[in-house]
């Protein structure tokens, strides 16, 4: 990508991450295709919601963006620079542009560091030599995430779950990154605390103009926060587009099924769209379209034989990968 041209903040193309799994015999290995042929873009200041069941490759994708897993194929450009090359050359520079907030705030803070240390050490590492400057930044960041700066000499265990997640967010933002990856940021929190963190993330996104990659299995949260949404199934993105378009006219049967799986107390869910069965193992994915064994839209011969098709444009800024969309006649008649 041209460096001086203003492109998207994050551009992933044809990304594949395969983990080698040792065969049972002990000889040789076969690939577990955690992420397979994923292309995504995130614009500056945008929130992309990434949804999918556990084991679909959401977190592997996030780790690849952070440069934490070796990439098998494809490229990731962050802010115009290749993530893999940058990481080799200058890890620190990469850390300044992308940061992560983890699911469990009880496990992701160092118990032996005070909050002040947790927040000021990154600044120190990244060359802010002036202590007064660091202190000012820590105070600023703490008040931004809604914590009293006086609390900065306490340890992580003295805070509640919601407060800890605020600290994690402050830590992620202290270096002014362009992109923050949030991996299920609210699912470990108490229900009454979740709204606080969701509101905080949205406020910070608007205030600081950061882009968010929001990984979640909670469609309610994703709908509320995202500008664009990508739905992932067994290593592939199966539907992607503008949030409104995805929720008003979901096109892939999997997206439909995900939406139908959320119990709505006010609307009885229809059983026809509810899918059955569980995610197949990524080690032995079904032949053809990986979703066909669970698909409720009467998959035809083509779904069982041909591998997952290319994206079909189903609307303005909305695309899906499904044989039944690209070849409407392929539906088996029942």
């Amino acid at each position: 990508m041209d460096k001086d041209k203003k492109g998207p903040l994050l551009q992933i193309s044809e990304l594949a991450v395969h983990y080698p799994i040792r065969n049972k015999s002990g000889f040789g290995s076969r690939p577990l295709k955690a992420v397979d042929g994923v292309s995504l873009t995130i614009q500056a200041g945008e929130c992309l919601g990434l949804v999918g069941e556990s084991g679909c490759g959401k977190s592997t994708l996030a780790q690849a963006v952070l440069g934490l897993v070796p990439i098998t194929k494809g490229t990731i450009y962050l802010n115009g620079g290749d993530v893999v090359a940058t990481r080799k050359k200058n890890r620190m520079a990469q850390a300044r542009s992308v940061q992560m907030v983890f699911q469990d705030p009880f496990a992701s803070l160092n118990p032996r560091q005070t909050i002040y240390q947790t927040l000021s050490n990154p600044l120190k590492l990244h060359g802010v030599k002036d202590k007064a400057q660091r202190d000012a930044r820590v105070v600023e960041m703490l008040s931004k995430v809604g914590l009293k700066p006086e609390l900065s000499d306490r340890y992580a265990h003295e805070f509640s779950g919601g407060q800890r997640q605020r600290i994690c967010i402050a830590r992620a933002l202290i270096l002014n990154p362009k992109l923050v990856i949030c991996d299920e940021p609210v699912s470990a929190l108490d229900v009454s605390i979740r709204a606080q963190i969701i509101n905080l993330l949205l406020d910070l996104k608007d205030d600081l103009g950061i882009a968010l990659l929001m990984i979640s299995h909670d469609l309610g949260v994703v709908e509320h926060m995202s500008d664009r949404i990508a739905v992932m199934y067994l290593g592939h993105i199966v539907e992607e587009g503008n949030w409104k378009s995805i929720f008003t006219s979901p096109s892939h049967p999997y997206t439909n099924a995900l939406i139908a799986a959320i119990p709505d107390p006010l609307k009885p869910t229809s059983l026809e769209t509810r899918m059955t069965g569980e995610t197949p193992s990524a080690l032995t994915p079904p032949a053809g379209c990986p979703f066909h064994p669970r698909c409720k839209e009467s998959p035809g011969e083509i779904c069982r034989k041909n591998k997952i098709p290319e994206f079909v444009q189903v609307g303005n800024d909305h695309q899906a990968r499904c044989h039944l969309l690209s070849q409407p006649g392929s539906r088996s008649d029942i």
Binding site: V191, L202, G220, E223, A261, P263, D264, P265, L266, E278
Partner: protein, 326 residues
Amino acid sequence: MTLKPVLDIKDLSISIEIDAKYYTAVEGVSLSIGKGEIFGLVGESGCGKSLTALSIAGLLSAQLQISNGTIAFEGQQIEKLKTRGMRRLRGDRISMIFQEPMTALNPLMTVGDQIGEMFVLHRGMSMKDARKKAIEALDQVQVPSPGRRIHNYPHQLSGGMRQRIMIAIALSCNPALLIADEPTTALDVTIQAEIVELILELCKARGTAVLMISHDLGLVARMCRRVAVMYAGQIVEEQFGSDIFTGPCHPYTKGLVGSLPRLGGRLEKGQVRLNEISGTVPSIFEFQDGCRFHPRCPDAMDKCRHEAPMQTKIGPRGYVRCYNYG
């Protein structure tokens, strides 16, 4: 409804001993569940919902004890029952499904043996007959090829499958009451609905009453006939199923309902700011005088700080503990 209740809890309090001091973890909980009724108990972690469940099954650990109140199960007072009497009931008339199927199942026994054990212990069957029954039970929870599956160990099964095994074990003796403690929290969203529906379907067929415990208000309101909301060891509101969602009364319930980003909500109303409940959930050491929710309550009055509110009736069978009513 005037069905004779299967479970009738009156004024239950549970206290916990920490460093020779007693703290009340559950206070004044009363609830009754009719035959075959689906009852939901919602609350956040630490609100005492699981303790309530454990006390019914007689599974409270040593430092916990029932300090007040009665638990009547099928007309029998069970809170004073000794280990042996409770053992006879548990698994037979009262059974339980836990959140994490992997830790609840025995990793060293095949699932067939674990289901069969129930028939051997409670029905005095031979191992051979029990095995046949186990296959039947697996078939009922829709496990494919049950004849082969009974030889599997828990680690060979997926999360959803393991939870099905738990259900099969729990329902094997046709209990009168099933306590399901967060039965789907550890599972994927897509499996959740399937498992909950399976539980309800099987219980309906058997006339088993269900006490469904969850933190997911949406799920419980959708599935249960009556719902009680617990906060800091007390039931603050009880209502009929979806009424709790459409017409919540207690400020805490209102807050919870308003704080959930509901699917389709943004399409209807746009990206409105979520309603926050300020503050954090108090731990049992921090329970305050008066209404326990008052430090976080937007409508708190002076009275709320000093005196705990009593139950006020709302609707035909609901009640709320709040001074803003009554």
